[in-house]
């Protein structure tokens, strides 16, 4: 219970232990703790940023989806229009072709008719002539009745 050199000994020990703690214990542990604090803060910040990025990406996806849908709709519209046009065009073409075919057929028919008529006429003339010849025998003067025959042929 009396003061003695233990007092001095404790002072010296105290100073030494403070120095040892100051030199070897405190700095590395405090540094590690500060680093962890920083890493956690960084991690939280990164998480925040990632969340924001995700939000942005979602927004972008929605935007792109809408624009894609719009684009698809216009393309389909255009395709429909084009299809109708093509059909119309084809119809028109077919009509024209039909008309043309009809016209050419008609022309051909007319040609054939007139040709047949011509043939018939010439054949009738020949037949008439032959008939007349047979009826009249030689009494008919070729020259005298030529005019009459031609007139008959024209009337046919």
């Amino acid at each position: 219970m009396n003061l003695n050199a233990t007092f001095i000994g404790q002072m010296v020990a105290f100073v030494i232990f403070i120095y040892l703690t100051h030199r070897f214990v405190w700095p590395p542990i405090v540094a590690a703790m500060a680093e962890r604090t920083k890493r956690i803060a960084d991690g939280l910040q990164a998480a925040d940023k990632a969340e924001k990025d995700l939000e942005l990406a979602k927004q972008k996806v929605v935007e792109q989806l809408t624009s894609a849908k719009k684009e698809a709709a216009t393309i389909i519209d255009q395709a429909n229009k084009r299809a109708i046009e093509i059909v119309e065009e084809a119809k028109e073409k077919a009509r024209l072709e039909g008309d043309r075919l009809k016209a050419s057929a008609q022309a051909e028919i007319e040609q054939a008719t007139s040709r047949a008529r011509e043939e018939l006429r010439s054949k009738v003339v020949t037949l008439a002539l032959a008939g007349a010849e047979k009826i009249l025998e030689s009494s008919i003067d070729q020259n005298a009745h030529n005019e009459l025959v031609n007139k008959l042929a024209a009337e046919l």
Partner: protein
């Protein structure tokens, strides 16, 4: 019967006395150096004697503190902490938050000093929870086997029940108070604290008259800091130790008293856990506050 009672009373007081005496190494009355055989001899040794028991335990616990914390500091990682690192980091964070809260100046030494005080004093106080006779009996066995008188082997295991230990630390704190006061405020600024407070006057003659009054008022305050710091810790732990000793005596007073003693001992030990922690905390906090005060300049009042 009266002689038996007398004998027991004597043994009880001897028991207490034995527990409160340090194992002191110093110059014996016959001129040789050695361990004191009783308290009176230890007192006669004067200043140049060492309390081997408390000093030894103090050094051992300080070294224990250092090696535990150093082993963690060596492989400290900023990844997920495990095991001992959790405990050490908890202690350091606790001390660091105290220092940051009370000491708003830049000083790299305050943190380590506060940590050393807190853990070391905590360890020293915690020695109180070891069964009171366990270590002294082991010491007695060793001492007797080395040829010592069994009644002369004193062994105090709680360093903070030795005023040398507590006042030694307080004295270091006091030196630091003086050192930082002088380096932060200058010698003149430091002296002004004692001469111009609490009474001051713009009249130089009256001011001169005030100086001795101020000195009388302020100087005791300065010296009271380390004394109260050291004696508070010592007093609390010494009182706790005495109560443990008294409880230990109660065990020898019959089976009924032994039961009561067991109960009291549990209650007191539980309560003592609080004191152990609290006194370590108070020593640390006061040290930080004193350091902070010595940094505080007049303008900040």
């Amino acid at each position: 019967m009266s002689s038996a009672e007398h004998a027991e009373a004597l043994t009880s007081s001897e028991y207490i006395k034995h527990h409160l005496t340090n194992l002191t190494y110093g110059k014996l009355p016959d001129g040789t150096w050695g361990f004191a055989h009783n308290g009176d001899e230890a007192a006669q040794m004067g200043f140049w004697a060492v309390n081997v028991d408390t000093m030894g335990w103090s050094l051992f616990l300080g070294a224990l503190f250092f090696f535990i914390f150093r082993s963690v500091a060596k492989k400290v990682t900023s990844d997920v902490p495990t095991g001992a690192q959790n405990v050490v980091e908890f202690a350091i964070e606790f001390v660091d938050s105290n220092v940051k809260g009370m000491f708003p100046y830049k000083n790299k030494m305050i943190g380590p000093m506060a940590l050393t005080i807190f853990v070391w004093v905590f360890f020293m106080n915690a020695m109180d929870l070891i069964a009171i006779d366990l270590l002294p009996e082991i010491a007695k066995l060793i001492g007797v086997s080395l040829g010592a008188d069994p009644h002369a082997v004193f062994f105090k295991v709680v360093p903070s029940t030795d005023p040398n230990i507590t006042l030694g630390m307080a004295a270091c704190v006091f030196i630091l108070i003086l050192w930082y006061s002088i380096t932060q405020k200058g010698v003149v600024g430091f002296l002004k604290e004692f001469t111009l407070h609490p009474f001051s006057s713009s009249n130089p003659i009256i001011q001169t008259l005030f100086i001795p009054v101020n000195l009388v008022l302020e100087l005791p305050g300065l010296f009271a800091k380390p004394v109260s710091l050291g004696l508070r810790l010592f007093g609390n732990l010494y009182a706790g130790e005495i109560i443990f000793i008294l409880i230990a005596i109660l065990y020898g007073a019959g089976i009924l008293f032994a039961g009561v003693a067991g109960l009291i001992q549990i209650v007191w030990a539980l309560f003592h856990i609080l004191i152990i922690y609290l006194q370590a905390l108070i020593f640390m906090v006061l040290t930080i506050v004193y350091m902070s005060l010595s940094y505080q300049t007049d303008e900040q009042h």
